[in-house]
């Protein structure tokens, strides 16, 4: 539900990173999103289009890498991938004393940029 404000944050992060690369345009924004994050990818992509329209980032894509939930059990020491995000119990011994190793990521990892003066392949004879 808060994808629009998240896209505004992503826009600011991308804008700052792009300022260090003058003369480039962004093709893709690569994100890491843990499965414990309550982010709906389709909604995020839709809002990205709204936030970037008529801006220097118009036409750029969000590429979302979903990170599974991996739990470390403090009882038996095993690391297991959670079968679903609703049962945050150890997949090995069933214990509930766990820490979340992965699954809470929410990060702009990188940008794919192209130099503005490179002629697009389709425009070359």
């Amino acid at each position: 539900m808060h994808e629009l404000s998240l896209c505004c944050s992503i826009y600011d992060i991308v804008g700052r990173a792009l300022a260090l690369r003058p003369g480039h345009s962004v093709e893709a924004v690569n994100l890491q999103v843990g499965q414990l994050r309550q982010v709906v990818p389709e909604s995020l992509e839709f809002c990205w289009g709204m936030v970037t329209q008529d801006s220097p980032l118009a036409g750029s894509r969000l590429v979302i890498d979903q990170v599974p939930v991996v739990l470390d059990c403090l009882s038996c020491g095993e690391s297991t991938t959670a079968a679903d995000v609703f049962m945050l119990t150890c997949g090995s011994c069933g214990g509930g004393t766990i820490t979340v190793r992965t699954g809470e990521e929410f990060m702009v990892t990188s940008l794919d940029v192209v130099a503005d003066d490179v002629v697009a392949p389709s425009e070359r004879s």
Binding site: M1, H2, L4, S5, L6, S9, I10, D12, I13, V14, A17, L20, R21, H24, E27, A28, L31, L36, R37, Q38, V85, F86, M87, L88, T89, G96, T97, F106, M107, V108, T109, S110, L111, D112, V113, V114, A115, V118, P121
Partner: protein
């Protein structure tokens, strides 16, 4: 021609897309603002508790009782009241001895679904922090978004009405994981419902085994003492950050 190449090898072009490493957390800016809120509160020896729930779980009714009780214990309270558009809830809380600041979130597209740290920073700026012991943030009624945004509170508490059923901890695990206390409200309705309290407790434990559960009824007042003692244990004392002797 005939040269072996990959489909994406645009021969003659020195560069395809160039990858720029960023590695920046999307909540980073909010989290920095939240840390600044916590520092400002700590400097004044103020404890801050973030209250979250579904719409209609009883946050505002509970706060009416809580503000009266805390006033009688001589605890000076500020309330940050998040509401999408109206001042209805804030109006109910005025005149009870607390400083109340209303934060309408309706400036976004159709209203933000949560309070974030910069919004709460603006509200804290309108409170006289030197005259407060405790700040209660009443977040926007919503089980999804508020759990994602650190507002700078020291503790988060959820108000849960037993009319919501037993399964919500499994549907909204992020919210239930983010709180230290779950107030099980509307317990006076238990005889009239099929609500299975043991199953609800089990479901909460599945996602957050450390959560403290307090059964109460904001309508009848049953169980409120345990909640108020958790908020402010001891005569005139507020459990909370360091700085107050």
């Amino acid at each position: 021609m005939g040269r072996f190449h990959r489909h994406d090898d645009l021969s003659g072009y020195a560069t395809g897309p160039d990858r720029v490493i960023v590695l920046e957390r999307i909540f980073g800016e909010n989290d920095r603002a939240a840390a600044a809120n916590r520092r400002a509160l700590d400097e004044h020896g103020i404890r801050c508790v973030n209250l979250m729930s579904s719409p209609g779980a009883g946050k505002t009714t509970l706060l009416v009782h809580t503000l009266r009780e805390l006033a009688s214990r001589n605890i000076r309270v500020g309330v940050v009241e998040g509401d999408i558009e109206t001042s209805i809830d804030a109006d109910r809380l005025t005149g009870l001895g607390a400083q109340v600041v209303l934060l309408n979130t309706g400036a976004g597209f159709g209203g933000e679904c949560h309070l974030d740290a910069p919004m709460v920073a603006r509200a804290l700026g309108q409170l006289d922090l030197a005259g407060l012991d405790l700040v209660l943030v009443e977040n926007v009624g919503n089980l999804v978004c508020p759990a994602e945004f650190d507002v700078g509170a020291h503790d988060s508490v959820m108000v849960y009405a037993i009319t919501e059923g037993e399964e919500k901890p499994l549907k909204y695990p992020v919210m239930f994981r983010s709180v230290s206390v779950v107030l099980i409200n509307k317990m006076d309705l238990l005889p009239h419902l099929d609500f299975d309290l043991d199953l609800f407790r089990h479901n909460v434990a599945q996602v957050n085994p450390h959560a403290r559960l307090i059964e109460l009824s904001a309508r009848t007042g049953d169980g409120l003492a345990a909640w108020h003692d958790w908020l402010a244990p001891g005569p005139g004392g507020v459990r909370g950050p360091p700085g107050r002797g």
